[in-house]
Amino acid sequence: MRQYLADISSSRLRLAGFIVLSLFLSLAILAPLLAPHDPWETGSPYLPPSPEHRLGTNDIGHDILSELIYASRVSLAIGFLAGLISIFIGTTLGLLAGYYRGWIEELVMAISDVVLLVPGLPLMIILAAYLSPSMWNIVLVVGLLWWCSTTRVVHSRVLQLKEMPFVEAARSLGAGDGYIILHHILINCKEIIQAKFALAVASAMLTEASLSFLGLGDPLNISWGEMIHFAFSRGGFANDMWWWYLPPGLMICVSVLGFVMISMEGERTYKTAEI
């Protein structure tokens, strides 16, 4: 952990991303303490911002600020879980393809070619429309379709690692494939996987926002994307009620930016290390 923190503070960008994400995480965890109102409590609808309701109220009289704070739980959870699924699939396939080569590699690359080629959103729309609208289905749909780039990066890294002397040494000592993959190769892919995970969460959050914007979100667990969906479809946008659609949009932007920032390698430290 201390090593990780040292890593993070080595790059200002990463540090900034880390701070942003900690803020969002505390917002999500402390939602009941921070929200001024119960997000499901209905009052008078379409109120403009006032000291009582800092961001006004929506079409059924929910306090928008409280809804916004509670929605951070849903958006972050979906992004995180979908990112986890996609990184797990991507890493496993990348490791297998790079280590075993042969037909496994051909198959994995062919499948990832197909998945990369298919326009993601229309397919996700169909899947999400067939499945019942729930948070978990969105996690599954997004997670199952976002693993390709991870697979490719892990795959090419494994190809490099496999030829390195320490892997050969381990093999000559009689280590099995499973041991080598877990203890030598996976460990050395760690940084790539960490970076790819942050990017996967960022993409998953953006994709979830698009699906929710189309009205395919979970009606019981409102996310930021879904708040914008309601603002758009129930007159908030047409009536220029920016306090309804802009804050959730900015929340998406900033949290995604946080994930992108922690995935960036400290360019300068990296270069000096090489020299």
Binding site: P119, L121, P122, G215, L257
Partner: protein, 326 residues
């Protein structure tokens, strides 16, 4: 066989394989997803019909027959350009899409071209002037567009430039009642904001990639050699750097077609343009599955065609492919 022919053949096989997989997926989805397959095939509106009618429709779609017969029937109807029937809209899916596809392509193509040119220009500039003020500015801007959800950017553009400043129309494709050049200019005026939003969204990611690869290439030995020869920086950038960035850039642009189509769907909805996005949106609201599936199939075929074209272009841009036959 010469290198280029082998390359093209390999690509053709790969695309044929992908196409078959997409068809199978489109066939399998309504039949294996939860819910009654007849509803999945016809849309939720089908349930309002009387039960005897539904039984008739079930027989017509061959849902009582074995799967391989259903599949060959599915392929045969596709060969007749029959993509199913939307009970909700009371039109065949192919008819519904005929117009929409044109407008979506009219939105996607200029955006891909403009976005790519912007990414290539600014990306090489930022990579060339690595760690300068202009690099930081451009990168920050690209990150901003990259993290902004497509619908938010579209909504902001619409709100600022059309609603508050009144420079552009609030939506739709034309004002109507015009002909000839006037009509074309009117459409261009209506499409300006959507194309601008989509171009920026598409350019952001490509910019970041181009910038990184240009920065990396500048560290290579052959650039040092070119400098030692006394070439000007301008000449190095144009002749040595861009030349090396181009092939991977083309394949990135090709792969981005899927993303651009997805973005176009969202942008269309915000600007209420009558394209595939609006069609899909209506279909989602009404759970009109045949329309969704038809749109998915057509968009996928389009993205595949664009990728295939780009792969052919790649063979031209990268002299290593098929270089031995001339």
């Amino acid at each position: 066989m010469s290198g280029r022919k082998a390359y093209i053949l390999g690509k053709l096989i790969r695309y044929a394989f992908t196409f078959i997989l997409i068809l199978s997926l489109n066939f399998a989805l309504p039949r294996m997803m939860p819910g009654d397959p007849i509803v999945n095939l016809l849309g939720e509106e089908a349930l309002h019909n009387d039960p005897r009618m539904i039984e008739l429709l079930r027989a017509e779609h061959g849902l009582d027959k074995p799967l391989h017969i259903q599949f060959s029937g599915y392929l045969r109807s596709l060969a007749r350009m029959d993509l199913g029937y939307s009970i909700h809209k009371n039109l065949s899916v192919a008819e519904l899409m005929a117009n929409s596809l044109f407008w979506t392509l009219l939105l996607v193509f200029p955006s891909v071209v403009i976005g790519s040119i912007m990414a290539l220009l600014f990306g090489s500039l930022a990579g060339f002037k690595n760690n300068s003020l202009i690099d930081y500015l451009l990168t920050a801007l690209a990150l901003l567009f990259y993290t902004c959800p497509s619908f938010l950017l579209a909504m902001l553009f619409l709100s600022i430039f059309a609603f508050h400043l009144g420079l552009f129309p609030l939506g739709n494709l034309t004002s109507g009642g015009r002909e000839g050049l006037d009509y074309a200019l009117d459409v261009a005026w209506h499409l300006f904001l959507p194309v601008a939003a989509l171009s920026l969204l598409g350019a952001s990611y490509k910019f970041l990639v181009v910038r990184n690869s240009v920065t990396q290439i500048f560290d290579e030995q052959f650039i040092v050699a070119a400098r030692a020869k006394g070439l000007t920086e301008r000449c190095i950038l144009l002749r040595h750097v861009i030349r090396n960035v181009l092939p991977p850039f083309i394949s990135m642009v090709a792969l981005s077609f899927g993303f651009m189509v997805s973005g176009a769907l969202i942008v269309e909805i915000v600007f209420s343009l009558n394209g595939m996005g609006t069609l899909i949106y209506d279909a989602v609201v009404a759970r009109d599955y045949p329309v969704m599936q038809g749109c998915f199939l057509v968009l996928t075929v389009f993205v595949m065609a664009a990728n295939f074209a780009a792969d052919m272009l790649y063979a031209v841009a990268d002299p290593r492919i098929g270089g031995n036959d001339n």
